[in-house]
Structure formats: C-alpha cells, structure tokens
Symmetry: C2
Subunit: 233 residues, 2 copies
C-alpha cells in the first residue's frame, strides 16, 4: 500500500567537511575528534539570534540527509559492512544510509561559533561524519541528562566498535598534508576506511581527503593490522 502522507522539509544549513566522497568517512560521528567541519546556515536562517546561547552546550545533534540515497527504493534489510557484508539485519536495527527518508543523526562537539564571518553565524564542530555539502535539517543541543545512556546495550555494533588500525605514515608523505589536517587524516585512516568485506592485502586503496588523494595498503596478516600510506597526491 503506498504511503500518501508526506511533508516537505528543507535544509536550514549545509556542512563543509574534508570528505568529497563517501569512501573514508568514519562510520559514526565522534570517532575522529580531530576532524573539523563548518556549518553554514542557509540565508533564511543566517541570523545570530537563532544560535543565541548555543555556546553553553559542548555537543550538538545534527539531523541531516544522506543526500546520495534520496529517492532510492527501500529494502527491509541491509548488510552492515562491519558484519562482513553477508549478514542481513533489519534497516531499523541499523544506522545504514539506505533507509526510508534518508535521514542521518550525528552528535558532534561544538568547538566555536564564527559570528563575525560574512556567512556567519557559522558553527565549528568536531567529529562530523558527513559528506561535504550535506544538507542539515535540524540542529539541537545535546542534553546529557536525557540523551546519554552509557549502559545501553549496543547490539552487534558493539563488537567491532573499538577496532583500530596501526597507521604507518612516512614523514615525507605526511609533510604533503597541511599541518592542521594531519591528526584528522591519521585518525580517519586508523578507523579502517576499507569496506568491511574487502580485505585484499595487495590492493592500493585511494581515498579523497581535504582535496588530497591518499593512497594506502592494509596488511591484515600483521598482528596489529597495519595500514601503510604509500602516496599523497
């Protein structure tokens, strides 16, 4: 039976991040705190008053659009990469982008409010897992007394949550990365940007980050799961 009840929503802002492509974006917000992003309100909402008091909060919620998924047909199940890509899980039991209404939810850390910029007030945030240019539908303060449930059961995501790669970043390649982007890039690589089901030790992966192309290999046979950067162009 088709769904006839429908409501229009519109972006109140767009976010500017170092990710021009999906490949490499951390799987959730907050995993790489060194990532910085800038939230610029659309002209209608570009009003200093609308963010008055927001600096009293350390974290914000963003409700946003998985813009590359809009209009795709929905499927009741998805295959999360972290489960190896073969196990089917109900879409509402995942944070998969392939979902009805294509809405994303991320908590980010607020590091500053850029009030005086020509496009201000803009919000500077850390840890965002969003594609550059992503439309944002809402920004809300994070309220720890109702939003924080440290003992919540984390389901199948919990098992692989803490996994990190050791990153081998040759100094002469690292020197090609702007100094203020190095920690963020290293953090992104440590998250293991490879698709969960693609573990080919001979393969050279290429990831876009902050206008650079980052090439790397991953040796799954080393005991510490080592990622090696082989080129930066």
């Amino acid at each position: 039976m088709p769904n006839t009840e429908s409501y229009p929503i519109h972006p109140i802002a767009h976010i500017h991040t170092d990710f021009a492509e999906k490949f490499g974006i951390p799987r959730q917000a907050g995993l790489v705190d060194a990532l910085t992003a800038r939230i610029v309100f659309t002209p209608e909402y570009r009003v200093a008053e609308a963010v008055r008091g927001i600096e009293q909060y350390s974290h914000l919620w963003l409700i946003w659009q998985f813009s590359r998924e809009v209009g795709r047909p929905w499927h009741p199940t998805v295959r999360p990469p972290r489960l190896g890509g073969n196990t089917r899980v109900g879409v509402f039991a995942t944070r998969s982008p392939c979902r009805p209404n294509a809405l994303g939810l991320s908590s980010v850390r607020l590091t500053g409010v850029d009030t005086d910029a020509p496009d201000g007030p803009a919000l500077i945030v850390a840890g965002a897992d969003l594609l550059d240019g992503t439309p944002i539908f809402d920004i809300k303060p994070y309220l720890p007394y109702v939003d924080s449930h440290p003992d919540a059961a984390g389901g199948f995501s919990a098992a692989t949550a803490g996994r990190r790669l050791a990153v081998d970043f040759p100094p002469k390649l690292l020197a090609r990365v702007p100094q203020d982007k190095r920690a963020a890039l290293t953090g992104v690589l440590a998250q293991d940007p490879r698709p969960g089901y693609q573990h080919d030790p001979g393969r050279v992966y290429a990831m876009s980050f902050a206008g650079l192309t980052v090439k790397f290999t991953v040796d799954d046979t080393s005991p510490d799961l080592r990622l090696t950067v082989v080129d930066i162009v």
Copy 2:
C-alpha cells in the same frame, strides 16, 4: 531570501501514547520510564524483516514530527518554559517544538517487539514524550559508543533537570486509574506538568492522561513543592 530546496518525507510509523494533549507530556524523553507506548508501522513498512535484530538494542532513537507545529512561521528565538518563559534563547540552542522543519528527537527504551499482533511488528517502548498519533520518520538503534556523552555540558537545561514534585495522590482517586497506568501517571505528575511561567497555588489544573482527566493543584509555598491530585474523571 526564500528557501527553494525542499524534500518530501513520510511517516514510517505512528506512536500510540497516553497523551491526547500536549499538556502534561514530560519535557524530554526518558524522564518517566514507567510510560509505555506502542509504535505501529505504516502498512508499507509493516514487515518483520525491517526490525530484524532490533531486540539486541536496549534503546532507540525516534525522529518524529511536532505535528501541531507544522507550517507555523519560524522565529529565531524561543522562550523556554524552564527559564520562566521570559528569557529568549536561539531556537537551535533549544529542543523547543517551535522550530524549522518541526522535527523531534527522542531516545526511548525498547521493552519488546510485538511480532504476532495483527498490526505487527509493533515496538513497545518506555519513556516516550510524544503525543498520541505522532508521525515517526525514522527509528535508529542507540549506539552507546558514539551517542553517549555523559560529561557533555548541558547549558541552561541542566539547572532544572532534576527538579521533581512530591505527589499527594489520595488512594480513592488512585483507585480510578488502571493499575498498569498508576506508576506512569504519578511519574508524569512528579515532573511538574505546569507551564514554567504559571505558578498559581489556587489554580486547579486539568490534564488528560490515558483517557482520564486528572485534576490537581500545586502548592509552591510548601518546602517540598507538593502536587495534590484533587479529582480523576
């Protein structure tokens, strides 16, 4: 400048709660865990597969619609009731319903999946702060390793977060409330359902809950801020 970028979203479910009116709904989710609600998927999404694995999570996120606010003009600032109703705060620094796109965000506790019901699979949740019949646009699992920030700074909401009223519920009135609704109703009353700026000790307030009308007074002059139930009809 008008906003021309717009996207349609549609309800994937509706929630059934004991709140037929806004008055009395706790100000955030999770404040009254004894409240139970039932999430019924719209026919298109009423598929057992779509929630496969969801029972591995203890908490869920709901993204929903402040349905009574849809289409209202937006204002850059709001006056949160908890601040007495006189202090203006930027709309994006609050969880106010009066916001662009009228989207709500709540974390609820998943207590069961009603798979075999005629309208199943339905989700049974605790702590929902939603009006009966509220459209839900997305359901996501709560991931403690990325969603929980117990040390986040809570801004001005933190100051009044823990306030509770002592509830005086005469046994003969309590007996008129179905047994399985008593803890929830008492919990709702303890949250102080009055508007923040309305403190009239002589006034009899009337709140709708689970098909009942609950009448009460609040004595602000008593040292423990006492709410007394005076009638149940």
